[in-house]
């Protein structure tokens, strides 16, 4: 599904990630940990083609990202839902429109998926906030909205970058449960987080594997 083969990445001076090989199989659940600045976000960007590896190969759905044309990248992003660390909303659009944006840009009429959208908004508990603008939402609401947007295209893979970043414990738990639910539906999930308590909380709920990035290298930890 997502394969990295001897991947290295550098933003310019000095390698940030070095010789990373990992394969994320369909239906798997991974936590990605490591100190702040270790390269978790960079790793995820390599996994959805926003960055190209400076060495090695990244294969998404069996295709080398370097061989993807621009339109192929767009199509590929519809199959990988991303919860960005900074959410990446359009502040002038109501939250419902933001959540529906992947549908819109893919040329689907939102009316056809209206019930789907309403259902999704209820699922993340934002139904009453549909017309609010992103800056009017709390941190927790924004991160749940970001998750809703990441899954609206029914992607095969969900990459979540610090999805519980600014959330209190209870809210983090709720978000984790949503991601576990998605995994139970067969989706591949990767959660980047430096919150070890969150990982411990997942124990027993899901079969997960912990990846750790430190000192440029990725190590595969024990299964939970």
């Amino acid at each position: 599904m997502i394969e990295l083969e001897q991947v290295s990445y550098s933003y310019g001076e000095g390698e940030l990630l070095s010789d990373i090989s990992i394969s994320l199989t369909p239906g798997s659940f991974h936590f990605l940990t490591g100190p702040s600045g270790a390269g978790k976000t960079t790793f995820l960007k390599l996994c959805y083609g926003e960055l190209l590896p400076t060495a090695g190969h990244v294969r998404l759905f069996d295709r080398d990202v370097r061989s993807l044309a621009r339109d192929d990248i767009a199509e590929m992003r519809r199959r990988i839902g991303v919860v960005h660390q900074d959410c990446q909303f359009l502040d002038h659009l109501p939250i419902a429109d933001n959540i529906a944006l992947p549908l819109t840009v893919a040329g689907h009429s939102v009316h056809d998926d209206q019930s789907n959208l309403t259902e999704l908004m209820s699922w993340v508990g934002l139904r009453a906030r549909a017309y609010a603008l992103p800056p009017e939402l709390s941190g927790g609401e924004r991160q749940r909205a970001a998750l809703a947007r990441a899954v609206i295209m029914s992607p095969d893979v969900i990459l979540a970058d610090e999805p519980t970043g600014n959330l209190d414990w209870e809210m983090s738990q709720r978000l984790l449960q949503l991601l576990v639910e998605l995994n139970k539906m067969g989706k591949t999930v990767v959660i980047a987080t430096h919150d070890l308590a969150l990982i411990r909380a997942a124990k027993g709920q899901v079969q997960a594997r912990v990846l750790r990035i430190a000192n440029r290298h990725l190590t595969v930890g024990a299964d939970l």
């Binding site: 960055l51 190209l52 199509e75 359009l90 659009l93 429109d97 529906a100 819109t104």
Partner: protein, 301 residues
């Protein structure tokens, strides 16, 4: 290559309401585009009027450019016939001359009547003989002809009427060319201004574009949101400018005298010419915005 279909054009004009909302309107670039398109279209109407009128004049003058010239033979009475025959001989062998004919006494008398009255004694006056030359379409080499005449019929003087008309026709055709050149330049400036406005709009929407790209928008989808706006705005502005320009041309005071300025304007079906201005403007806007959008998107993965 996308197949050209009317439905595509209709989709383009109607647009995608969702996509429209994703890209917020930028009032400043919208006004700049409308204004620039209107002003340029207004100027284009005048350049077009100039071109069309100059083209008309140049055509008429060139046609009138007497296809005939005259040879005047002045010689002592005794040599007159010999020189006339010699000149006719030369003319016959000159390429580009369709025919040459000696004017009859009656014709010459008619020409002289205004000055000398009806009973001119042609025989007793040292009046030159006139030979009318009808030029073929390809025209003849006047200088070459003169040189040959000096040798064979020294009393012959070639008078080609074209001499004074040629510069006029050339001026009209130059004006015609300058008119079209102005139109091309006007559209080039329009394209440049739309490129600037589009780039400003694209820069103002950098965040919007990157988010759309991140959630799976194709380049064509993002570009279209901008291209559609700029094209429609430009067509609207150009149509307004064109109408105002056309009204101004209609209101040009018309001089009674035959002359160049009195002729400035469109005639009959020529009034359809200004209609191409908004269409060309639309094409220019489409291409300029498309290029600007592609350029911006290329920087983004």
């Amino acid at each position: 290559m996308k197949q050209f279909e009317l439905s595509h054009v209709m989709d383009f004009i109607i647009g995608d309401a969702q996509a429209e909302r994703a890209v917020p309107p930028t009032g400043f670039t919208a006004r700049l585009t409308l204004f620039a398109a209107a002003v340029m279209a207004f100027l284009a109407v005048f350049a077009l009027a100039l071109s069309v009128s100059a083209g008309r004049l140049s055509e008429r003058w060139s046609a009138e450019l007497a296809q005939s010239a005259t040879l005047r033979i002045s010689a002592p009475v005794g040599q007159m016939q010999a020189q006339t025959d010699a000149a006719l001989g030369v003319l016959e062998t000159t390429p580009g001359i369709a025919s040459a004919r000696v004017l009859s006494d009656d014709e010459q008398r008619a020409l002289l009547e205004p000055w000398f009255g009806p009973d001119v004694p042609l025989e007793s006056l040292p009046i030159p003989r006139l030979i009318e030359i009808v030029e073929a379409d390809i025209g003849f080499d006047a200088e070459g002809l003169r040189l040959r005449l000096v040798a064979e019929a020294p009393g012959a003087v070639l008078d080609d009427h074209t001499r004074w008309r040629k510069p006029l026709a050339a001026a009209a055709s130059r004006l015609w060319f300058l008119g079209w050149l102005s139109i091309v330049l006007i559209f080039a400036v329009m394209g440049a201004m739309i490129t600037l406005a589009a780039n400003a709009a694209l820069a103002a929407n950098a965040k919007v574009i990157s988010v759309m790209r991140l959630v799976g928008a194709k380049d064509s989808y993002i570009a279209n949101a901008f291209v559609r706006r700029f094209t429609l705005r430009t067509i609207t502005g150009a149509a307004v400018g064109m109408v105002i320009g056309a009204i101004a041309v209609v209101l040009l005071p018309s001089a009674q005298e035959e002359g160049f300025l009195s002729d400035l304007g469109f005639a009959g079906a020529g009034w359809l010419w200004p209609l191409i201005i908004p269409i060309v403007a639309g094409v220019v806007a489409f291409l300029a915005t498309q290029a600007a959008a592609r350029g911006t998107l290329k920087e983004l993965r």
